[in-house]
């Protein structure tokens, strides 16, 4: 470690102002701060600070995503790892370029976007589409607005919607059938199991034609679907952890799931033919993944605590309406983007309501 620190200190002058590589300072800085905690001192009171920083915050999200990632690799093979690497490489390039142009530090937020993105794609998707999607998401969804913290929309979802609209064929025909058996697809590269079979039927798609997938299959995740979205078990493991450490807002998740379950129950009661039962809807598609990992994105969600309730309610309701009464079988991503659009408005209302009370509190 001493040696590593020495190397960094030797390199530092080259990246400082006036150095040969001063333009690439964000890259050096990111590496430096990744390896060793920052050495900046507190300039003003309070002079001691809480140990939590954005790096820790974001790494907890990635930690919570690991079960879903592991499930994706298990069911759909090592291809998912490849998708992750492509996503990090392509999105990271955009992020680094913008950090250099803006002369700002590279933000950790990208590590989460880049991790989520392959998990919400069909596992059989061509890798070049992963690269295009994540670049578009990071560029248009985030950097244009000023980078992490200033984006209106969830960047991973912007990329996902771009692919869904721009390359509909590739996105609806590249689902994969997971393999049964204790090893899943883990040994596929060594010639075990069958070649990758592409299909176009996810549980939600099948439901449109009246075939309901079993609840157990849905819960474990042995169904066709987006790489990280199929296993409810893995999502719950990570999602509950994220709520316990306080990074994800339980308010958003609870409001979202409550409105979704409530409305689905009502709609199923009224129209049993078009709307499958609650349990099926809850476990299929990207609902749980979206609820725990994307609706809870603090940046693109509402700023205020009260707003999180309204935000969750809106997304839950929008999801079931899109799923039931539109041409799309899956509605979560559109619902969350819709929520992102409404978040500033919700905030404005909450702030108005709250500040009205302040007049009495002088």
């Amino acid at each position: 470690m001493k040696g590593l620190k020495g190397i960094l200190e030797n390199l530092r002058p080259a990246f400082e102002e006036g150095g040969r590589l001063a333009r690439l300072k964000p890259i050096f800085q990111a590496l430096d701060h990744f390896l060793f905690a920052a050495a900046e001192k507190t300039p003003s009171s309070p002079f001691g600070r809480d140990p939590l920083d954005v790096k820790r915050y974001m790494s907890l999200v990635i930690l919570a995503l690991l079960p879903s990632f592991a499930a994706a690799v298990y069911f759909f093979g090592w291809r998912v790892l490849l998708m992750l690497l492509v996503s990090y490489a392509a999105g990271g390039l955009v992020e680094v370029l913008f950090a250099i142009i803006r002369k700002e530090e590279i933000n950790e937020g990208f590590l989460v976007t880049g991790f989520i993105f392959p998990l919400i794609l069909p596992p059989g998707i061509p890798l070049w589409l992963v690269a295009i999607g994540v670049s578009f998401g990071v560029l248009i969804g985030k950097e244009i607005f000023g980078g992490t913290g200033r984006n209106l929309f969830n960047p991973a979802l912007v990329g996902r919607v771009f692919l869904a609209i721009g390359y509909p064929a590739a996105l609806t025909s590249t689902w994969m059938q997971p393999l049964a058996g204790p090893w899943g697809r883990l040994l596929a590269p060594f010639g075990f199991g069958v070649p990758d079979a592409l299909t176009s039927a996810t549980p939600l798609g099948l439901a449109k034609s009246g075939v309901l997938t079993g609840a157990f299959e849905l819960f474990v995740g042995r169904t066709a679907g987006s790489a990280g979205e199929t296993s409810a078990l893995a999502i719950l493991l990570g999602g509950v952890f994220l709520i316990l450490v306080g990074v994800a807002s339980w308010r958003t998740v609870l409001a979202l799931l409550a409105s979704f379950v409530g409305l689905t129950a009502i709609l199923h009661g009224l129209l049993p033919a078009t709307v499958p039962p609650v349990m099926f809807h809850l476990l299929s598609g990207g609902l749980l993944f979206g609820a725990f990992f994307m609706a809870t994105d603090p940046v693109s969600g509402p700023v205020t605590r009260g707003g999180k309730w309204a935000f969750g309610l809106l997304i839950g309701a929008a999801t079931i309406f899109i799923r039931s009464f539109s041409g799309y079988v899956e509605g979560v991503m559109f619902a969350i983007l819709l929520g992102n659009i409404f978040a500033p408005l919700i905030d404005e209302i909450v702030i108005r309501l709250k500040t009205r009370r302040y007049a009495n509190e002088r």
């Binding site: 507190t42 003003s44 002079f47 600070r49 920083d53 992490t148 603090p298 702030i351």
Partner: protein
């Protein structure tokens, strides 16, 4: 009583209950400034002074406030301060009073003369009560709870000088409005100190006890007053509430019943950089260097963890309203892959480190910022921790785009300066500084409007 938000971190270096009494140092240093008021010396350079003699004065509407001499000795004038040398430790009491035979005017004058008056806080001025004011407080709050890490603990002082505090409390009805009450704020814990208070004060109908959770910033006067207004239904919105702490009550007793003007303070010396965290009873003017660790790797701060300010221990001395000094190691080593470690030696507001599981204290607290500066990610921690129930993240957003008027409307001035939002912010934004500057700008703007009207 309830308080919203708040947080009390667990950090090593909590001052123990022992109160040491070090000998009086050879020199005492008195700053000619207190609570933002400048005092002008009334003694000549080289003059010898008695214990309790007025060293310096300042005029405020209604009367003169004085800085009484903490010891007998020779006064030397210097720039903005006064040095006492050739100290004699003997104490000769001045005039004493009895609570039944003292008028309000005499009480106020004696407290102003004895250096005790500025220890009072009034909801009308949000600071020292005005001396000449006719409106009396409806309620005086005696606050026993000091939750800010490393500050002198109320119960330690209670145990040490309970009889003098009771003496002081008996004078408070002279200051109160008719049928006004004294509300003693303490933690609900039924420990021996609380029992002692209950039994000794059981006969006083005008004294009530109000338990409050042990969570910073329960002791903040504005938080206390708001919480009190919510829990006493009969309290008018504009009725005046004064807040004093235990040391102020002790000083009232000392000043009026025993003829001892403010000459001593109990201070806490603690913090992770302190070898023996403890309390000290010292004369006012005692140089900080006499108890501070001598090491350039340790920062000395005056006040508690959240509101304390960096000072130079070689220059500073204990002043009339100080009650805490703490010592914080200057950050030096950069931990390898710090954010990936489980963190058994750290604990944070969110349960994000393993230290929360084992109940460990935050043993890595230094003067480091402990993270990189980032744009606000609207995690909402500041809103959760805010005791004033405002939304710091919203104010930050307004002030970021210079929307002062919106910030004003969104409760900028309700901020009670507890500094918690700045403490918990994972993006390491200097919210407190930003809000302070904005309020300053707001005052300027108003003064400007007043002038042109």
């Amino acid at each position: 009583m309830r308080i919203s938000g708040g947080y009390r971190p667990k950090i090593p270096g909590r001052p123990s209950g022992i109160v040491e009494e070090p000998p009086i140092p050879r020199r005492l240093i008195i700053r000619l400034q207190r609570d933002g008021l400048k005092y002008r010396p009334v003694v000549k350079d080289g003059q010898s002074v008695d214990f309790g003699e007025v060293l310096a004065e300042t005029s405020v509407p209604g009367a003169n406030l004085a800085l009484p001499s903490p010891a007998a000795g020779k006064a030397l004038l210097a720039e903005e301060q006064l040095v006492l040398e050739q100290i004699r430790p003997d104490i000769t009491p001045l005039k004493t009073y009895q609570p039944e035979r003292i008028t309000r005017g005499e009480t106020v004058a004696a407290l102003a003369r004895g250096g005790v008056w500025p220890l009072f806080w009034s909801s009308a001025t949000r600071g020292m009560p005005e001396l000449g004011e006719d409106r009396k407080p409806r309620v005086i709050v005696l606050n026993v709870v000091l939750t800010e890490p490393f500050r002198a603990r109320g119960k330690v002082i209670l145990r040490r000088s309970w009889s003098r505090i009771i003496q002081g409390l008996k004078f408070l009805p002279r200051l109160l409005e008719d049928y006004g009450t004294l509300e003693i704020v303490l933690t609900a814990v039924r420990d021996p100190v609380a029992r002692m208070m209950y039994s000794d004060l059981a006969g006083f109908a005008w004294i009530h006890f109000r338990p409050i959770p042990l969570r910073y910033p329960a002791e903040n006067p504005r938080v206390l007053v708001q919480s009190l207004r919510r829990s006493i239904p009969g309290l008018q919105k504009d009725s005046i509430i004064w807040v004093i702490d235990v040391q102020a009550a002790e000083a009232v007793g000392g000043c009026l019943a025993e003829g001892l003007p403010l000459h001593q303070r109990v201070i806490a010396a603690g913090g992770p950089g302190c070898a023996h965290p403890r309390h000290l009873a010292v004369r006012i003017g005692t140089p900080v260097s006499s108890f501070a660790p001598e090491s350039p790797e340790i920062a000395t701060l005056c006040g508690g963890l959240f509101r304390g300010d960096r000072i130079d221990p070689a220059q500073a001395a204990v002043q009339y309203n100080d009650d805490a000094y703490f010592f914080l190691p200057e950050g030096s080593t950069r931990q390898f892959l710090s954010f990936l470690r489980p963190g058994f030696d750290r604990t944070s507001y969110l349960p994000c480190f393993a230290g929360r599981l084992t109940g460990a204290a935050d043993r890595r607290l230094t003067t480091f910022l402990r993270g990189e500066r980032r744009p606000c990610i609207t995690c909402g921690l500041c809103e959760k921790v805010c005791p004033a129930r405002i939304m710091p993240q919203v104010l930050h957003r307004y002030l970021y785009r210079q929307a002062l008027a919106e910030a004003e409307r969104s409760g900028l001035e309700l901020c009670v300066d507890c500094n918690l939002c700045t403490f918990v912010c994972p993006s390491k934004i200097e919210l407190q500084k930003q809000f302070g500057e904005a309020r300053q700008a707001l005052l300027l703007e108003r003064a400007e409007a007043e002038r042109t009207k």
